[in-house]
């Protein structure tokens, strides 16, 4: 069964550094998403992306965050200047029309 794949599985970075989290959505999916889960808490919506533009973003997704689909397969989340409170699991998800979200296994981001 096709899967959403995310790399790296764990990223450690220093406060103030830029990080790029990478995702390869399922190939025939049209809609792409990033969600975040702080340890022990619920999964929170960050941003949705369709047709090469952001469809919706949450209040968490401030100017420090950006997303990009640089080619036909990758979907990236960039955090320009990381803060301690950005430490979380970041999940990429994708879906096709009229189907549920399929999630990747996440990237654990640790900001020190």
């Amino acid at each position: 069964e096709p899967e959403v794949t995310q790399t790296p599985s764990h990223q450690v970075t220093q406060m103030g550094q830029e990080v790029i989290l990478r995702c390869v959505p399922i190939s025939n999916h049209l809609y792409f998403y990033w969600y975040r889960q702080i340890l022990g808490q619920k999964v929170e919506f960050l941003v949705s992306f369709y047709n090469n533009e952001i469809s919706e973003k949450s209040e968490i997704f401030d100017d420090q965050f950006s997303v990009e689909r640089p080619d036909g397969s990758n979907f990236t989340l960039k955090i320009r200047s990381t803060k301690l409170e950005d430490s979380a699991m970041y999940f990429c998800a994708s879906r096709k029309q009229n189907s549920p979200l399929h999630f990747g296994n996440g990237t654990r981001l640790t900001v020190t």
Partner: protein
């Protein structure tokens, strides 16, 4: 010292028993709900969904019940197995196309004892 972070509701069952996990929602306009399972170190995995024009839907070993009057849904797992141990989230799915968005609940940690 003071603990930090949310404490998940927990449910502990014996292998072979049936499990019932509950979820409440607040928005009367919500019309599509999904249950996700999250195993340790993995992303949420789709289990079953239900639309508001139904009050029950069955899958393999799982049943979702929806009570719109009291804004409550439940996930029933029959003959629970150790592999069912995970955090279970209900989610409210709204919109369609590029406006589709999931809002997750807090989750319930299910532990299955052999």
């Amino acid at each position: 010292g003071e603990s930090v972070g949310l404490h998940l509701p927990t449910l502990s069952v014996q292998e072979g028993d049936n499990s019932i996990i509950n979820c409440a929602y607040s928005n009367s306009a919500s019309d599509y709900f999904i249950w996700y399972k999250q195993e340790s170190g993995k992303g949420p995995q789709f289990i079953i969904d239900i639309r508001s024009n139904m009050d029950k839907r069955q899958g393999q070993r799982v049943t979702v019940l929806l009570n719109k009057t009291v804004k409550h849904l439940s996930l029933q797992i029959a003959a629970t197995q150790p592999g069912d141990s995970a955090v279970y989230f209900c989610a409210d799915a709204r919109g369609g196309g590029s406006n589709y968005k999931l809002t997750f609940g807090k989750g319930t940690l299910l532990t299955v004892n052999p």
